[in-house]
Amino acid sequence: MMFILLLLPNILPDRKFIQYNDDQLREAALSKGMKPIPKNYDEYLKVIDNTDNILTKEKVALGKKLYFDKSLSKNKDVSCATCHMINKNSNEDVLLKSLTTSSDIRNCASCHIKENSGTDRLSTAVGTSGAQNPYHLNTMTVLNTSLAKYLTWSGEISSVEEEAGASIQSPFKMNMSPKEINQRLNSNTKYIEEFNNAFKTHSSLQSSANYENTKIALGAYIRILLTRGSYDRFLDGDNDAINAKAKKGLASFINLGCKGCHTGMSVGGQVLKRFPLKNFISQNDIGFNFPFILSDNSFPFDNVGGFLGKDNDHYFRVPMLRNVTRTSPYFHNGSVFKIKEAVRIMGQNQIGINLTDTKIDEIVEFLKTLEGDIVDYSKDIKSNKESL
């Protein structure tokens, strides 16, 4: 008996898996709706359909200024960039500065701001006067959000302009009413000038500095916050951009069904889906998962804050995976800190597979290739004059 058992591995044939070569893998990815981020602004204009908010140099510059302006919050203590961290001057050594001089950068930011992750790396978002999100919701990254169909965890918002306004008004974010915004902006003559310039208001009696235009200007800036990384270079045709392990991970990502939800140029953000989808039977491989017990109301982690998705129905916006390895902690309340654990949970609860450690490693290696740096489109954006 023992010897038969010992001989088994020799007798049984090896399982054959489909092997993609690099070009096939790229083809498979592209055919499944995965797209690279445009390399330059010309391509951007071709690929990205944006007729709601025509970008101009002035508008983007104003948006950037507003993005980093703390006076948009009630207590003048937070700006958009406080939670959606972006390094304003990429050449500055923030940590060195905060260690050696007295600077006002928050503790975490001093080390993390250089990552340009567009999020604060905290479990729970903290707004003006230290207000915490009542549902314990985690800040999502601002990067690439203009590519998403749905925004926020429950997916109620559909454009970055709308979200900019919602964040300004939210009592636990900036906590400002449109009226207060109008007052603050109009008390600053510089702003009036810049708004008028950006929104082509030529009468000196009129002021374009208002809440609505703030939303549009912020939206314009956020629309060019797109990141490109090795994954995009791979999709563009560079086979050496990502390593063999990441290619295996990408193949798994496609074959296991992850790409079904995490799709599009943004690798997510296009649909609302139930989470957790399946009650992974006692977290093991035994037993059958009958179709009629698809829903299980327990989360695979401690649901601090008690958020239950859209209409309390466990429907969440599928998060975007671009830069995911830079945006821990994970899930809506930031309960999971490690990417490998997050991948394991997704495997078990969404696609119903107990991923092996090797598979998890490969998928994580692929997710790392989604890290990218913000593409500098701003230099090619046409100014008011040029666009006339």
Partner: protein, 600 residues
């Protein structure tokens, strides 16, 4: 037919056991499976078939037929003792410490040989038995090939930083059998090299910011090898909701133990854990992490990487039953040599190539390195891993394994060096070891002549410079208070200012680094290119410091001289505390003190 099957069973158990002997040198993958098969099939066969059979057999022949066969009695006795010893080996193990374990092992081994012989003698129908035995033997000898190709191929370890978390066996796993050592290590500085060391975290971040993120690899090579080889680009840290987890004060590596309990072996342990040092197979004493850790090419026991409670239990039992290979995998003669430690305790800047830390090189030149004179020769572990009591080295006898051999001079894993502060925030015992060691290092003497104070400091205990290590971040200095006959302080040196920094007149024993322009490097120590000053005291040497004092003093004079030590200068702590506000300031430690009166 029934007796035949019982015979086959016993022979099966015998052969599968015999294959486990060292002399057969079976490939580890096969060995692992055979040991499992031997144990579990034996238990099943014993309980279901053999014990009921033997009961019936004895009843039939002794009680009913009244046969008195000595061989039969012997066989029964042997079977009983082998069964009992087998169960003992499995449930308690042969860890080396208890006599029963050793007895059980020998009974199990030699008893089985006797059993095999007496079984043959006992059986009437010898022809069938012999045939069965020879068939089994032939099958046993015939080569059984497993998928061991992969295993043997992986002699060199993966060098592309693609190790899986599991490869770095979590230290919390070792805790279940090596409790004392784990506890010593858990509060030591080797455990707290990465996320729980705020100074390191800040400096790694700074290095990454100033020199680019790839530069972090230089730091991580020694401080966080597990993170580096599993593909991390920077050292991570545990969080507690929105806040940094307070690991600075955490005793006995609680977070590590809890994390391991929750996530099992897939939980990566960052920093320097058990396997980091205990799987090093090759070193070059160049420093900058010049060591080779072999993680894949190691003999893992069955269930060693398992997480569930039952498999974890079984895994431990299997190690206990036959710990030789476990021991061999994690020890090496190399570990006693100083060159082993040199792979990290020597350090040079990757940018300028200048030596930043040269502890090993200092030791190499000292009188402590005399391989021909065993009395004088002292390696790193002779001071840094030997237990101290009442300020003296007093080798501790104890157990490295719970229930294991009593060792006369157990190598303690407090890793006493100079950083009493960070380990002391966790455990006073750990701090005490370091302080005792520090106080063995130097001797002081003082004299006043011709309006001058002469203070002699001799490095009597350290096998390297005083101070060594990151000598630019260590403060060792003389504090002097001179009083005249009325008790008025007429001269002082080396006092602390109100903000915690030292006064400018303090005589420090240290190294000062300058960058390429000759300016002090400050926190960016890797920019070191020009040595601004080096006042450290080499091993065995005496340094005399001279201080001028005013004329016309009213004798008798009383002088107090203290040799003080502070692990980090206040300005460094202040910088780190900006990121880690909960970090306390390290205290000033008085290493030596003399008071003397001079009556003209």
């Amino acid at each position: 037919m029934k007796t035949l099957s019982i015979k086959i069973f016993i022979i099966f158990m015998f052969i599968s056991g015999i294959l486990l002997l060292d002399i057969f040198t079976i490939q580890w993958e096969n060995y692992k499976n055979i040991s499992l098969i031997h144990i579990f099939i034996s238990i099943i066969l014993m309980v279901i078939f053999i014990i009921p059979f033997v009961n019936k057999h004895i009843y039939k022949y002794i009680v009913i037929k009244k046969v008195n066969d000595y061989n039969g009695w012997l066989l029964g006795f042997l079977l009983l003792s082998i069964t009992v010893s087998g169960f003992y080996l499995f449930l308690i193990g042969n860890r080396g410490g208890d006599l029963f374990g050793i007895i059980s092992f020998n009974t199990h081994l030699y008893g089985s040989l006797l059993l095999a012989i007496s079984l043959v003698m006992h059986i009437k129908n010898k022809i069938t038995t012999n045939a069965v035995i020879s068939i089994f033997l032939l099958m046993g000898i015939s080569p059984v090939q497993l998928h061991s190709v992969e295993f043997t191929k992986l002699k060199t370890d993966q060098n592309d930083n693609s190790h899986h978390n599991k490869d770095w066996t979590n230290s919390a796993k070792c805790k279940s059998c090596h409790g004392d050592i784990f506890k010593q290590w858990a509060n030591s500085n080797h455990k707290n090299l990465a996320e729980s060391n705020p100074y390191y975290m800040v400096l790694e971040g700074l290095a990454g910011e100033v020199e680019g993120d790839d530069f972090r690899q230089w730091c991580m090579g020694c401080h966080n090898p597990s993170g580096l080889t599993t593909g991390l680009k920077m050292s991570g840290h545990a969080m507690n909701g929105n806040f940094l987890k307070d690991l600075i004060f955490e005793k006995n590596a609680q977070t590590l133990v809890e994390g391991f309990k929750k996530y099992g072996p897939t939980k990566l342990e960052e920093g320097v854990g058990c396997v980091t040092c205990h799987r090093i197979t090759k070193v070059d004493s160049f420093g900058n992490a010049s060591y080779t850790v072999e993680l894949n090419n190691r003999k893992k026991y069955p269930f060693e990487d398992s997480h569930s409670r039952i498999t974890q239990y079984l895994g431990e039992k299997l190690i206990n039953a036959n710990p030789t290979i476990h021991k061999e995998s994690y020890s090496n003669k190399l570990y006693k040599k100083s060159s082993y430690c040199a792979s990290c305790h020597d350090e040079s800047s990757p940018i300028t190539g200048k030596k930043i830390v040269s502890t090993f090189k200092e030791w190499e030149k000292s009188s402590y390195n005399s391989p021909d004179n065993p009395k004088e020769n002292k390696n790193c572990i002779d001071c840094h891993m030997t237990y101290l009591k009442n300020g003296k080295f007093s080798p501790k006898s104890g157990y490295s394994t719970d229930g294991g051999n009593l060792k006369k001079d157990i190598k303690v894993h407090y890793f006493a060096g100079s950083n009493h502060f960070l380990s002391g925030l966790k455990s006073k015992e750990s701090e005490n070891q370091t302080l005792q060691l520090l106080r063995t290092a130097a001797k002081l003497d003082v004299d006043i002549k011709n309006n001058k104070i002469y203070v002699g400091v001799k490095n009597v205990g350290a096998g390297h410079h005083l101070p060594t290590g990151a000598a630019d971040f260590r403060e060792l200095w003389l504090e002097i208070t001179l009083k005249n006959s009325t008790g008025k302080v007429i001269f002082s040196s080396g006092k602390l200012k109100a903000d915690g920094d030292l006064t400018e007149d303090a005589r420090l024993f240290r190294k000062v680094f300058g960058d390429k322009d000759g300016l002090p490097v400050g926190l960016l120590f890797w920019k070191y290119e020009k040595l601004l000053s080096d006042t450290r005291i080499p091993a065995g040497e005496r340094r005399v410091e001279t201080y001028n004092i005013p004329n016309n003093l009213s004798y008798p004079l009383s002088i107090t001289v203290q040799l003080n030590f502070r692990i980090y200068p206040q300005w460094v702590t202040n910088a780190v505390a900006k990121i880690y506000p909960q970090l306390p300031s390290p205290p000033v430690i008085e290493l030596k003190k003399i008071e003397k009166k001079f009556i003209k």
